[in-house]
C-alpha cells in the first residue's frame, strides 16, 4: 500500500508538463543515440550533464535516464537492417534480426524488438519499484567466484551459437578469448600482445571489432557475390511491416526470459547488458522447440536479447539508487550528476528523497509507453532503407560504420582495427566459422579471466572455491547441463536412427 501511495506521488511528479516534456526529449534523444552506432548513451549524458544544472533535479534525472533506456530501444535498428550493432548490447540481435530483414521481415523484426523492449522495459521498472532493496542485497552476494560461474554459463552458450561444426565454434570462441587478453593486464599492469603499440594498451575496442566482423564482413561477402544480386526480399503490403499475432504468441516466453534475465543481470555491477543479451538468447534457444532454426531469422531470437538489454536498464539503476554503486559507465555519470546536483547518492537516497526515486520510476513507465508509440510508426520508415540499391546501401553501411567506430574514442586506429576485423569476418564467413562465437569470447573473456584470478587470490589458489559456494555451484551446474545438451541430442538422434533402421 505504501508503494502505491509512493507511486502516486511519483506520477504526480512525472506528469507535470515540464517533466513530461523532458522525459519525451530524453527518450527521443536516447532513440537517436541508440540508432547511431558508436556514440553511446554514456557520452551523450556526459555531454548534456552541464545543461541540467539549471533544471529541477528530478527533471534532470528523468531526462538523462530517458536517454539511458531510450538508447536500448534504438540499438536494434541498425543491427536488424544493416547488420551494424548500434550498441554493444545489440550484437546478438544481428544474428536473427538481420536474417529476418533479408527474408523481407525487417518490419516484423523491428516491431518485435520495440514491443519486447516495451514489455521488458516495463518489467524492469516494476522490478526497480518492488524488489530493488532485496535484489541489491542479493547482488552483493556475488563475489568473484559467482561472476566466474556466470561467465562460464555465458561461455556455455557457445553450444547454441555453433552452426554445423562444434569444433569450428569452439575455435572461434578461443580466438575471441585470446583477443580479450590483448592490452594491459589489470593485476600486474603488464602489457600483453600489444606489439609495442601504445594504442593497443587499452585492448581491442569492442565496437570496432563487432562492427568489423558483422557489418564490414557482410558487405565484403555480398560484394563478391555478383553485385546486382538481390540481397533483401522486400515486404509487400503494409501488413508485413509489423509483427503478426502469431509472432507475438511465439515470443511469449522470450518476453519473460528477456525481462527476468536482463533485470537480474543488470543489477550485478560486474556483468552488463551484453552478457545479459547473450544469456537470454542462449536460454531462448535452449527451451525452443525448433533450436536448429536459430540464426536463420527466428523472431524469438530478436525478442529475447532486445528484451534483456532493456530490462537491464532498470536493473542497472538498482545498485545505483539503493546503494550508490554504479555498475557501468552510464550509471557512473548519473552518479556524478546526482553529486553535482547536490544529492548524496547512497543507501539513504530513496528514503530521504522519495520524490526523486518515485518521480523517476513513474517517468520510466511513461517513457516506455512514449518509446513504443514513437518507435512503432518509425518501423515502416526505417524498413524503407532496404529499398536502396546496393550501390547506395553499401557505401552507406561503410560510412555509418566508419563514423560510428571513430566516434567511440575519436580514434582512427579503431577504424583500421574495424577494417582488420572486417577481413576476419569475411574469412570466417567463407570458411563457415560462426562469428557470434568469436564475439562471445570477446565479451566474456575479460570478465572470465578477471573473476578466475580474483577467486584464486581470495582462496589462496584453492580451486574448489569456484564450485563450493551455493550460487556459483548452481550456475556451474547449469553450465554443465548446457554443455551436455549436444551430446544428449546426438545420442538421441542415433537412437532414433537405429530404431528406424530396425523397423
Amino acid at each position: 500500500m505504501e508503494d502505491l501511495g509512493n507511486l502516486l506521488l511519483g506520477f504526480s511528479v512525472a506528469l507535470t508538463p515540464v517533466n513530461l516534456f523532458w522525459c519525451l526529449v530524453g527518450v527521443i534523444l536516447g532513440t537517436m543515440v541508440g540508432v547511431l552506432p558508436g556514440l553511446g548513451p554514456a557520452a551523450t549524458i556526459a555531454m548534456l550533464l552541464p545543461l541540467t544544472l539549471k533544471m529541477d533535479h528530478t527533471t534532470a534525472i528523468i531526462a538523462l535516464a530517458g536517454i539511458f533506456y531510450g538508447a536500448r530501444y534504438g540499438g536494434s535498428t541498425t543491427s536488424i537492417l544493416l547488420n551494424i550493432p548500434g550498441e554493444s548490447s545489440s550484437v546478438v540481435t544481428c544474428l536473427d534480426g538481420y536474417q529476418m530483414a533479408r527474408q523481407g521481415r525487417a518490419g516484423a523484426a523491428l516491431g518485435i524488438s520495440a514491443i519486447a523492449s516495451f514489455v521488458a522495459g516495463t518489467v524492469g521498472v516494476l522490478g526497480l519499484m518492488l524488489v530493488a532493496p532485496p535484489l541489491a542485497r542479493f547482488a552483493l552476494r556475488f563475489a568473484p567466484p559467482e561472476y566466474f560461474a556466470l561467465m562460464v554459463l555465458g561461455l556455455a552458450m557457445v553450444v547454441f551459437l555453433a552452426g554445423e561444426s562444434m569444433v569450428k565454434a569452439l575455435l572461434a570462441l578461443l580466438v575471441g578469448l585470446w583477443i580479450a587478453t590483448i592490452g594491459t593486464d589489470l593485476f600486474t599492469a603488464e602489457s600483453r600482445f600489444t606489439f609495442g603499440q601504445v594504442k593497443l594498451l587499452g585492448g581491442v575496442d569492442f565496437i570496432a571489432a563487432t562492427v568489423g566482423v558483422f557489418a564490414i564482413g557482410e558487405v565484403m561477402v555480398n560484394l563478391e557475390s555478383q553485385g546486382g544480386a538481390e540481397i533483401f526480399k522486400l515486404a509487400k503490403g503494409l501488413r508485413n511491416l509489423l509483427p503478426t499475432l502469431q509472432d507475438l504468441k511465439d515470443c511469449r516466453f522470450a518476453f519473460l526470459n528477456g525481462s527476468v534475465i536482463g533485470f537480474v543481470v543488470g543489477a550485478l555491477p560486474g556483468a552488463g547488458a551484453t552478457v545479459a543479451s547473450f544469456l537470454s538468447y542462449g536460454l531462448e534457444k535452449a527451451v525452443s522447440r525448433h533450436p536448429e532454426k536459430f540464426g536463420t531469422g527466428v523472431i524469438e531470437g530478436v525478442a529475447a536479447p532486445e528484451g534483456a538489454n532493456n530490462a537491464d536498464a532498470g536493473g542497472a539503476l538498482v545498485p545505483l539508487l539503493t546503494l550508490g554503486i554504479p555498475g557501468g559507465n552510464t550509471t557512473a555519470i548519473l552518479l556524478g550528476g546526482l553529486i553535482l546536483w547536490g544529492y548524496k547518492p547512497g543507501p539513504l537516497l530513496i528514503q530521504e528523497h522519495p520524490e526523486l526515486f518515485w518521480g523517476l520510476v513513474a517517468s520510466m513507465y511513461i517513457g516506455n509507453v512514449l518509446l513504443l508509440v514513437l518507435n512503432l510508426p518509425l518501423v515502416p520508415l526505417f524498413a524503407q532503407i532496404l529499398r536502396l540499391p546496393y550501390y547506395v546501401l553499401y557505401p552507406l553501411i561503410l560510412g555509418i560504420s566508419i563514423v560510428g567506430v571513430y566516434s567511440v574514442n575519436n580514434s582512427l586506429f579503431d577504424v583500421w582495427m574495424m577494417g582488420l576485423f572486417g577481413l576476419l569476418g569475411y574469412l570466417m564467413r567463407k570458411l563457415d566459422f560462426p562469428a557470434a562465437a568469436l564475439i562471445l569470447g570477446m565479451v566474456l573473456g575479460d570478465g572470465l579471466e578477471r573473476a578466475l584470478r580474483q577467486s584464486l587470490m581470495m582462496s589462496q589458489g584453492d580451486i574448489t572455491i569456484l564450485a563450493a559456494r551455493p550460487i556459483s555451484g548452481t550456475l556451474l551446474f547449469f553450465a554443465a547441463v548446457i554443455l551436455c545438451l549436444p551430446v544428449v541430442r546426438k545420442v538421441r538422434s542415433w537412437r532414433i536412427e537405429a530404431i528406424e533402421r530396425e523397423s
Binding site: A42, A43, I45, A46, L49, P50, L53, A139, L140, R141, F142, A143, P144, T184, L186, F187, T188, A189, E190, S191, T194, G196, Q197, V198, K199, L200, L201, G202, G203, P269, G270, L323, G324, I325, P326, G327, G328, N329, T330, T331, A332, I333, L335, G336, I339, L340, G342, K344, P345, G346, P347, L348, L349, N409, N410, R450, Q454, M457, M458, Q460
Partner: protein
C-alpha cells in the same frame, strides 16, 4: 625606381617586426574551442572533474570559448598522454592529469611519454583517502585490523584498482611498516570494489571519503583510519594513521591540468591566470566540499618539483613492492 625597390622590402620588414613585437606584448586568448583531454571514458573520475570544471569556468565567465572534453581512454593514461605529446605546441589543448600519469610510465615500457614531457599548468585537487571496513566487522581501529592480519597471514583481503594504484601502494607501505600481510584483489571499477567490501568478500578498502560518506551514514561501513596528515573535517572522530602509531609516507592523489609540450609562455600564463581566479571562486569551493576534495592548488615551479618528487617516491615504492620499474 630604385628607391621603391628598396623601400618595398623595408616596409614589409618593418611591418613584420612591428606586428611580431605586437604579438609578443599581447596576451594569449583562446580564439577557438578548447580541447580538454582526459584518460578515462565518460563517467570516470577525470572525466567527471573535467566536465565539472569546464562548466564552472564558463559559469564564472573565466573563459570566453567553449571547453570540449575529449575522452582518450586506453592503457591507463598512456593513450591520452601520447595524444598530448603529439599535439606539441598546440595552444588550444589541455589535459587533466592524475597521479597515475606519474606511476604508469614507470612500469609500462610502451608508455613512452612521461609527465615531464608535458607542460605543467596547475594542480587543483588533492583527494584524501581513508581506510574503511564493514560496520559489523570486528575491526574498530587500525591496530585491530593489523593484528588480525598478523594472526592469519594472507587470509584477509583488500579490494582496489591496479597494482600501481594508490590503494595498493598504501597497502605495501602499511605491510612494510607493520609486518602484517594481506591480499590485494584488483577490480576495474569502483562499484565492484565497494560492493565486494559491502558483501563481505574482502575485509578492507582504501576509499575516498566522498565515496564512503553515505555508506558510513547508513551504517554499512566504518572508517578506521584517515590516510592524511590531519584529521578530516568531515570525519573528526577518525584518527589519522600516524596518530595510531604507524608512520608511513602518504601518497597524494593529485588532479590538475597540463598542456602539450612546447607551448608558448603566454599560454601558460593565460591558464595560470584563469585558474588563479577560479580557485578563489565560491563555486569551486562548493564543488570541493561536495566531493570532499582538498584544495591542492599549486602552479609553476612548485608543480614541476611536485612531479619530480612524486616520480622519485613512486619509483622507490614500486621497486620495493617488487613491481618491474622500466624507467
Amino acid at each position: 625606381m630604385k628607391h621603391r625597390e628598396i623601400l618595398f622590402p623595408i616596409t614589409i620588414a618593418t611591418i613584420m617586426v612591428l606586428s611580431l613585437s605586437h604579438a609578443w606584448s599581447q596576451e594569449f586568448k583562446p580564439s577557438k574551442q578548447i580541447e580538454a583531454v582526459v584518460h578515462t571514458g565518460p563517467g570516470g573520475g577525470s572525466d567527471l572533474l573535467a566536465r565539472a570544471i569546464a562548466e564552472l569556468l564558463q559559469k564564472e565567465k573565466l573563459i570566453s570559448q567553449r571547453m570540449q572534453v575529449v575522452n582518450k581512454p586506453g592503457g591507463g593514461p598512456a593513450v591520452a598522454m601520447s595524444y598530448l605529446a603529439e599535439k606539441k605546441g598546440e595552444t588550444h589543448t589541455i589535459g587533466f592529469f592524475t597521479g597515475v600519469w606519474v606511476t604508469n610510465p614507470l612500469t609500462t615500457a610502451e608508455a613512452n611519454v612521461t609527465v615531464k614531457d608535458l607542460t605543467p599548468i596547475v594542480r587543483l585537487v588533492l583527494e584524501p583517502a581513508v581506510i574503511a571496513v564493514k560496520a559489523d566487522s570486528p575491526y574498530k581501529n587500525m591496530q585491530d585490523f593489523i593484528e588480525a592480519a598478523k594472526k592469519n597471514p594472507k587470509k584477509l583481503a583488500q579490494s582496489g584498482g591496479t597494482i600501481t594504484s594508490r590503494d595498493n601502494l598504501m597497502r605495501l607501505l602499511l605491510q612494510k611498516a607493520t609486518g602484517a600481510q594481506w591480499n590485494f584483489i584488483s577490480f576495474p571499477s569502483g562499484g565492484e570494489r565497494l560492493s565486494n567490501l559491502l558483501g563481505g568478500h574482502v575485509q578492507m578498502m582504501v576509499i575516498e571519503p566522498q565515496e564512503a560518506g553515505e555508506q558510513i551514514r547508513a551504517g554499512n561501513l566504518r572508517v578506521i583510519a584517515a590516510l592524511t596528515e590531519k584529521r578530516l573535517a568531515t570525519l573528526p572522530n577518525v584518527p589519522t594513521i600516524k596518530e595510531q602509531g604507524i608512520d608511513i609516507p602518504l601518497i597524494p592523489q593529485a588532479r590538475g591540468v597540463v598542456a602539450p609540450p612546447g607551448v608558448p609562455r603566454e599560454v601558460i600564463q593565460y591558464w595560470e591566470g584563469v585558474f588563479d581566479r577560479f580557485e578563489k571562486t565560491a563555486t569551486w569551493k562548493q564543488y570541493l566540499e561536495q566531493n570532499q576534495f582538498e584544495d591542492g592548488y599549486l602552479k609553476g615551479p612548485g608543480l614541476s618539483k611536485f612531479f619530480d618528487d612524486l616520480t622519485v617516491q613512486m619509483r622507490e615504492v614500486l621497486k620495493e613492492a617488487g613491481a618491474k620499474v622500466v624507467r
